[in-house]
Homo-oligomer: 380 residues x 2
């Protein structure tokens, strides 16, 4: 195996596949990066067996040469050392070469590393996905879907299915739903496609997989192809394959959690509300489990307050755009409310309450694609 490569290209691909590699793996060879060299280019692979990432560097793209002097072959290098070495190499090009004893030489300028490699034949084969269940969406839209929902997954393992995001396609719409049973975040978007869309009733993608995927994909309008089988999901961009296992089990039916009618509706500027809750939460952090009070007042005023006997209290009135329906006093987690408001990409929000003890809904004022639901806390 031998090749000469542009260091920046190699570094980008190494950083991508590193997202899948865990230092705590129980399978020793998975602590390494697999490097496969062909006349088409260099393929890097990282995996922790839940997530596998392949990143391909073509020999040439748009007339720019990335890889030269190719002798095909493959090797596995320890992920603990290889990325730092690449990052700190002195020159823009890197030569890598392996011998029959799995010794790898990395040369750049006058620096020369000799690393002990591992046999690439011992690296597990990634499953090949054969499925018709594929569709495409722009990567910036996928990033939006992830960011607006994944924060609401459960972080505790008592109900493992809730650590994932429920993805489904129905009637030409793609929806993401996440809940930790105290709050729920969902987003639905219409898919534009010239081909017929697959029906995906419900697959549950681990939250961690989506967080790592979000770090890798670019904020661009390039398409990402998503393919689903019974227990795997593959996200494919031009040069990156991101494969994740799916979570086993049935995702709870969440639609019945969402109240269909409301008693109080508050229309509020998003940023002012977010900042007032942020301030009120400063005193609530410890003694009150981060709970703030929200109370409607005359003249479209909303009072946000919090009280911590040892530290003090805080109160602030903000002016809502309008308040409809009954008066309301309610308490909720400042953190959940701030997460929800941050996920809403709109200047104004519509908040629908059905009384102090019922879940309430936050939506952008001008569309129904995003829905955030929060269970209140009993304090009054």
């Amino acid at each position: 195996m031998k090749f000469v490569i542009q260091r920046d290209q190699l570094m980008n691909s190494v950083q991508d596949v590193m997202k899948a590699i865990s230092s705590r793996t129980t399978i020793p060879i998975l602590s390494g990066i697999k490097i496969e060299v062909s006349y088409e280019g260099i393929k890097l692979t990282g995996s922790d067996s839940d997530i596998s990432i392949e990143s391909f560097i073509p020999v040439e793209e748009n007339g720019v040469i990335y890889v030269e002097q190719i002798e095909p072959g493959s090797i596995v290098l320890q992920a603990k050392y290889f990325p730092e070495i690449v990052r700190k190499l002195p020159q823009k090009t890197v030569e890598m070469e392996s011998d029959t004893n799995l010794q790898v030489t990395i040369r750049s300028g006058s620096a020369e590393f000799h690393l002990n490699g591992l046999d690439a034949d011992e690296y597990p084969q990634l499953p090949q996905l054969h499925t018709e269940n594929s569709f495409e969406i722009p990567s910036d839209l996928l990033k939006g879907l992830i960011k607006q929902t994944v924060f609401a997954v459960s972080t505790i393992e008592t109900r493992p299915i809730l650590t994932g995001v429920n993805m489904s396609i129905e009637d030409g719409s793609l929806s993401f739903v996440a809940t930790d049973s105290h709050r729920l975040a969902s987003r639905k978007i219409p898919l534009q496609s010239e081909e017929s869309l697959p029906q995906i009733s419900s697959v549950v993608v681990p939250g961690r997989s989506l967080n790592e995927l979000n770090k890798i994909i670019e904020d661009s309008q390039d398409s990402i192809e998503i393919s689903v089988t019974e227990n795997q999901i593959l996200f494919r961009t031009q040069h990156v394959f991101f494969l994740s296992r799916l979570l086993d089990g049935n995702y709870p039916e969440t639609s019945r959690l969402i109240p269909e009618q409301s008693k109080t509706i508050v229309y509020s500027p998003t940023k002012e509300l977010l900042q007032a809750i942020d301030r009120a939460s400063l005193l609530a952090k410890e003694s009150r489990n981060n709970v703030v009070r929200f109370q409607t007042k005359d003249g479209n005023q909303v009072e946000i307050s919090s009280n911590s006997p040892e530290v003090g209290k805080v109160e602030e009135e903000i002016t809502a755009k309008s308040i409809e329906g009954e008066e309301l006093k309610i308490s909720f987690s400042a953190k959940y409310m701030m997460d929800a408001l941050k996920a809403i990409d709109s200047d104004q929000v519509k908040i629908e309450f059905t009384g102090a003890m019922r879940p309430f809904i936050i939506r952008p004022m001008d569309n129904d694609q995003i829905l955030q639901l929060i269970l209140p806390v009993r304090t009054y």
Copy 2:
């Protein structure tokens, strides 16, 4: 107590005094910030009894009004909450007011905080320094002295005196020396003064104090006044007093550690040497305790190398400007060498060796003010 203040001024002063406040203090009132209001301005104080910092906000400076509506008084507020509150206040001005029950109201825009204060009379009095032992230096020069020496203090408490930097003034020169007994960093500068300088034979300032001081003082040519008593040192800028206790005990005589003659002298470009050692250290981090080898070769070449049986090896040759004297093979801690090279603010360094088992000296090529000394490691 009452005043209206510019939030940015208040925030800066709060951040300064926070550097002295420890959340793990055994004296409860020292977990607070003392606020003293007079017709001259607002004085904030933070202390952990080792370090005390006072920051003063004048009523007016250069024609800009910082504080208005003053009613003198004082209070102590919990440092755990107050800084975040100030940082997140919605408006540029802040009104603070306390009542006879030690309740403090903070108003900014429509936000209103009520905090439980503590009695300022219970806050310990800072010692008043009465001393003639004062001198001034520009703050950027003081920052340089700190950065070039303080990293070499000991971080373990077996010899407490080595956790400080030894400061002395002799013959019109100020010198800082730090050593952890494996390496030594020192810098000496001539003091320019129209008045007669004090003689300070040796005071030992805790490394932590200098690190915190370095965060507070600006990189400017404004003067800092330094005053020393038997057990305290005071650094004074226009609006900040930084008071630290001194370490008890005798600092070891370090001048005799410094070899007076050398057998090999290497003149090398600083950055190339630093980067080559950084790369060589990548494989040395764990298995070899961060030790790299340094070997002179023909033609002004220096080989930097490292070898870790499990991982691999690395070698690199750099071209020295010149090599004088005997051939040399030596091993040393990559971390110590990198710390030393980073502290030297010069393109070229002069390294003087007295054999593989003796301490060696690194200096900027063009001046003798900075001296870094490292003890080698026995490997050959």
